[in-house]
């Protein structure tokens, strides 16, 4: 589904991603973990098409070259990014925004648009999924939302947009236990053999709720270790010290158990 090869990204002349390789198969859930400044968010936004990045390498989704597309075309191709800091948009009604997004994607795919009335049912289902109160959709997008509401709104958008690949950037940051539980339940409900998820996170906590098939460690712009969910448990106990302050070329070779240290 997603194939990333030797992905590089520089921001203002400073290299952040330094040759990232990753393959994600259909239906798989991957977690990318790493210390602050390792390039986790830059990876998400390189895939999404944020302005101001100098990008190298390749990234394809279902064979389509993502890096060549405008952000909206990447969404139409099936990519969804859950923002670490969802943007507040005062004055733009949440419901109107959601329907505009869904119809823009449908239009781009040559599908028929969905009317206001039919969309209400779609939106209601998504609201139930993330336990949103009625009235939530009549507010402005993210404006004045609590941290938990903003993150739930991200998952709500994912639910109505039904992406092929969702990249959730620090979706767990700043959440209380209740919000974390709701969001995890939402993501789990959206798991599907045809839908893949990449969770970017600093902490192992989220992975207690959403069990990943694979865990990758991102350090200094490269994936330096990969494994199953036990890798996350190891990181939780030992931190990233194993992977820091070493020649990175060596780091990639090292077993993730940490035993060799």
């Amino acid at each position: 589904m997603l194939h990333v090869e030797n992905l590089t990204a520089s921001i203002g002349g400073t290299p952040v991603l330094k040759g990232l390789d990753l393959s994600v198969g259909a239906g798989e859930v991957h977690a990318i973990m790493g210390p602050n400044g390792s390039g986790k968010s830059t990876f998400a936004h390189s895939l999404a098409g944020r302005d101001g990045y100098e990008i190298g390498g390749t990234a394809t989704l279902d064979g389509a070259d993502l890096l060549d597309m405008e952000p909206e075309a990447r969404a139409a191709a099936g990519l969804f990014i859950g923002f670490q800091y969802p943007v507040e948009i005062p004055g733009v009604n949440n419901m109107y925004f959601l329907r505009t997004a869904v119809n823009a994607v449908r239009r781009a795919r040559g599908e028929t648009e969905i009317g206001a009335r039919d969309f209400l049912a779609v939106a209601q289902e998504a609201m139930d999924l993330v336990e949103m109160k009625p009235g939530f959709l009549n507010r402005s997008v993210n404006a004045g939302f609590s941290g938990g509401e903003k993150k739930r709104n991200e998952i709500l958008q994912m639910a109505v947009l039904k992406p092929r690949l969702a990249v959730l950037d620090e979706t767990d940051s700043g959440l209380d236990v209740d919000s974390l539980r709701i969001i995890a339940a939402g993501v789990n409900a959206l798991r599907d053999p045809e839908r893949s998820v990449i969770m970017i996170t600093h902490y192992q906590r989220l992975l207690d709720y959403i069990k990943p098939d694979f865990v990758h460690v991102l350090v200094d712009g490269r994936i330096v270790a990969s494994g199953d969910h036990t890798l996350a448990l190891h990181l939780d106990d030992h931190g990233y010290a194993d992977y820091l302050n070493h020649e990175l070329d060596d780091a990639a070779e090292r077993p993730f158990s940490g035993a060799s240290r």
Binding site: R50, E70, V87, I89, P90
Partner: protein, 417 residues
């Protein structure tokens, strides 16, 4: 500017006598702060004189531009009431609605108060011209305790003709104690000829009266539109004024609000949307004269191409007006690097125990918001429109008369959804 002072038959006092204030007031120049951004060359080409009924009737094309409101209506063409298009039959209980020309006899006190201005109250030459020539229009008088549901609609249509390209008109609004009403003033026009209009509305709100007042200004881009609202509010009265300054080469909307009775409240909000070479000018002064009054000024501008927006907002707190709560905000969205926003707060505080806040922003579309919308599949052009609409909606939403809101959204191209 050209002024014709030939007296219209039967006018009393004669326009020449009414023009007296002109002798003591100079024409505005660029040096006057309140007229700094006005196109003075074009203002000088306006020609005023006694209003004469136009030989034309309201063109059908223009009639189609008028918002469709259910309720009484007075329609003017070039400052003279057009009976055929007006509808003052079946007025609700408690409402007297007559033309300003008829009001001279039927509502003499209100009409006298409208025209009676001492020289120092005449802010500028255009007020003087309006006093001289703004003889027709509307008088709205709501009796004590009556709450009127249907909006009262005053429409001013300007179709300049060459002999006299500018018109004057007046609206008088009086709300008796405890009454409430909604008044919509629509100013539009037709044709490609140069010309203009100069309107003046005087508003008196008695104790605990509530007025919702909307100005829709959408004159053709070849015209100048000048309007001024002079408001006096009694104890506990509420004014909610919304202005939409959308049309005209130069569109000027001025408010001069006096909070004369305790605990009065004035909420003024407005949206100006400029394209081409428009200059849209808001000149606001709110004077707190009594204790515990509240005022809000919330104005937003969206400026594209080479347009210019002006917000000159004043708050004056008179000695003794303790407990004043005044806020002012002006936010501007620039859509082109040749567009310009000028914002100028004027605060004059002569009382203690005053809360006075003001803030202004000038910015472009938020890059982060654009990116966020695009990652959701919304193409750049649509995302741009959505953000512009969102910015405008924060003012448009405050209008709770649905046909007016629809008219504004249609005018701004915000028709989907």
């Amino acid at each position: 500017m050209t002024v014709t002072t030939t007296a219209a038959a039967g006018s009393n006092p004669s326009p020449a006598e009414r023009l007296e204030p002109m002798d003591v007031i100079d024409h505005p120049t660029k040096r006057d702060e309140a007229w700094r951004y006005a196109p003075h060359g074009e203002l000088g080409r306006l020609s005023f004189g006694p209003q004469v009924a136009s030989a034309r009737s309201v063109p059908a094309e223009v009639a189609a531009l008028i918002p469709k409101l259910d309720g009484p209506r007075i329609v003017m063409l070039n400052g003279v009431v057009d009976d055929a298009f007006s509808d003052v039959a079946d007025l609700p209980d408690g409402l007297r609605l007559v033309t300003l020309a008829d009001g001279v006899n039927q509502q003499p006190e209100l009409v006298d108060a409208h025209f009676h201005r001492s020289a120092e109250d005449v802010a500028d030459a255009f007020v003087a011209l309006n006093l001289a020539f703004g003889r027709d229009g509307a008088v709205i008088d709501v009796a004590e305790g009556h709450e009127l549901d249907a909006p009262i609609h005053i429409v001013d249509l300007v179709v300049p003709d060459e002999a006299q390209n500018a018109s004057c008109s007046g609206v008088v609004i009086h709300l008796g104690a405890g009454s409430s009403a909604t008044v919509v003033e629509t100013r539009i026009g037709f044709g490609n000829e140069f010309g203009g209009s100069n309107t003046r509305t005087t508003i008196t709100l008695d104790e605990n009266a509530t007025l919702d007042h909307v100005v829709l200004q959408d004159a053709p881009s070849t015209q100048i539109h000048l309007t001024r609202m002079e408001v006096t509010q009694g104890t506990g009265s509420v004014l909610r004024a919304r202005s939409f300054n959308l049309g005209a080469r130069y569109g000027r909307i001025a408010y001069d609000v006096h909070l004369a009775g305790e605990s009065a409240r004035a909420e003024l909000s407005g949206l100006y949307v400029g394209t081409g070479e428009q200059t849209l000018d808001q000149q606001i002064t709110v004077v707190h004269e009594a204790e515990n009054c509240t005022s809000r000024q919330t104005f937003r501008g969206i400026l594209d191409d080479q347009s210019t927006g002006v917000f000159n907002g004043g708050i004056a707190v008179r000695p003794g007006a303790d407990g004043t709560d005044a806020e002012q905000s002006n936010d501007n969205l620039l859509l082109s690097n040749r567009a310009e926003a000028n914002t100028q707060p004027r605060l004059e505080i002569l009382a203690d125990d005053v809360s006075c806040k003001h803030g202004a922003t000038v910015g472009q579309l938020d890059d982060d918001a654009m990116y966020y919308l695009r990652t959701r599949g919304i193409p750049a052009d649509d995302a741009r429109r959505l953000l512009i609409r969102g910015f405008a909606d924060q003012v448009v939403h405050a209008v709770d008369i649905e046909p007016v809101r629809m008219w504004i959204n249609e005018r701004l191209g915000h028709t989907d959804g």
